[in-house]
Symmetry: C2
Subunit: 109 residues, 2 copies
DNA sequence: GTATCATATGAACGATTGCTCATATGTTCA
DNA sequence: TGAACATATGAGCAATCGTTCATATGATAC
């Protein structure tokens, strides 16, 4: 007979956040899980930047960057403002920086 | 003529971590970017747990959990110890908790 | 109006990913 | 040794993802 952990699981289950929240959490980290998006966020670390400057910096297509910025914006990780033809992107809040910083620490320790 | 940002990029490029580190950072977050793995890490938040208990808790196959634990272990996010037939897994360090906590904050604010 | 620059977007394609299934490894107990 | 339990692993498949390409939208200047 396989061993039983009904009692243990009852307690842990009670402490777990809802499936929906855990799903959202996974979706958030999925966005950090791509080198291009990480580079974009690092590029915006100090100051806002326009799309074509980011594309130049990363040596990538304007289209590719634009697609990724859309993903980042949908997750409220970046914000944008328009100035004439140009659109400037910036990090949305401090969480972005601290999440990256924590990951950085884990890797470089 | 498209506008020029050579001067700006020179400064930002100097401040960016190496491509290799940014790749590693993306790879790390990719691991957090899956609901199953997030659930596993949450399950281990308070205490160690054996593979079959985790499988029971998440209502998933032992095989599926085992595969994911391998991924988590390869990234130094969990550690394990054997006790007889059973293998207990636990979180490897505090970074795991703080990364999750930062993500949680971003979502629930 | 037209031309040009800056950005956004939709479709398509190749690559990666997470699960399932079958099976292998490792441990305990009789 | 053999049977039962706990875990690990390899192959295969469906689904997801990131890029490219072509094209659309939007703004400015003439």
């Amino acid at each position: 007979m396989p061993h039983d952990h009904a009692e243990l699981l009852k307690h842990i289950k009670a402490d777990m956040p809802s499936d929906e929240l855990l799903q959202d959490l996974g979706d958030l980290f999925k966005i950090f899980g791509d080198t291009t998006r990480i580079k974009i966020m690092y590029a915006l670390y100090e100051d806002e930047m326009c799309v074509c400057a980011i594309a130049d910096l990363l040596g990538m297509t304007q289209s590719a960057i634009s697609h990724q910025l859309k993903v980042l914006k949908a997750a409220n990780l970046v914000e944008s403002r328009r100035d004439g033809k140009t659109i400037y992107y910036r990090l949305a809040d401090e969480h972005v920086k601290s999440i990256i910083a924590q990951g950085y620490e884990h890797i470089t320790e």
